[in-house]
Symmetry: C2
Subunit: 179 residues, 2 copies
Amino acid sequence: MENEVLKAIRERRSVRQFLDRDVPDELVREVLTAGSWAPSGLNNQPWRFIVVRDEKTKAAMAEHTHYGHTLRGAPVLICVFMDAEASYDRTKDAMGIGACNQNILLAAHSLGLGTVWLGEILKDKEDVRKILGAPDTYELMAVICLGYPEPRDRGSERKPLEELAFSERYGEGFSGPSR
Amino acid sequence: MENEVLKAIRERRSVRQFLDRDVPDELVREVLTAGSWAPSGLNNQPWRFIVVRDEKTKAAMAEHTHYGHTLRGAPVLICVFMDAEASYDRTKDAMGIGACNQNILLAAHSLGLGTVWLGEILKDKEDVRKILGAPDTYELMAVICLGYPEPRDRGSERKPLEELAFSERYGEGFSGPSR
């Protein structure tokens, strides 16, 4: 079974090396709009985005992560926040933002762009929030690096479904036919 | 700008009315596999799935949500758990599971199936865990109803990007050209 959506889901990879080529604002709008179409509890849409292109801003942010070189090498950073004023349940809103991020990754991939979703920088999320001048109701949830991918093979591995999925009750292996 | 991925992201809707038509296990496998291709911090893959088709199990679960009729009317329920033994950071793992769920919704949509992601049932997550016989390291994060959608128009609304996205610093409107 195959279609463009399943293919994008399976073939998307984290991209950490970008070409020195700008990403038009129109494409950034397209991926953010895709993010905004994620589902959220009560349709509360708790995600907010700050788009960073400025080298000085990137350099200041890069001080707060071990992956500063990746961050500085990306033409665009999408900083994803949860707005506490829009939030109603931290766990559910975090899942909603995860769904939003996945839409961003898939939309970018479908447009020939590459992304990497950075989480380690959250250890200094308050510093990054201040660098960006975001209100104190905004909590940094992710930084997504965006750009045209440097061509290379990027592998990845997943556990087999047999280790993840069960039928009816835990312990009964999921019994679908193998592909 | 348009492609099958962007179209699926924008056209997917929550489906609460399903046809009385079974979903082959092969398609269930396909959507779970798509879920498993989500990104996760340290690639820890904290998601686990229990697939429910049994009417008695659905009826027992339906006692724990106001949306019991939706749950009973779906041929397949995908119960998504976070395994505490695989987890390393609750917020990041919740986002990873949100990304996994979004892959499931999009994959199902691309295969002509409908879904709704239920969260309200989490208020009784321990009861549902016990009904399904899942280990106590498993925490229920979502129940996704899956089936062939009853045809009808399903609208949805999102905030305009101007309310969600900012350039460089909070307060500066994101300046991309309008579509």
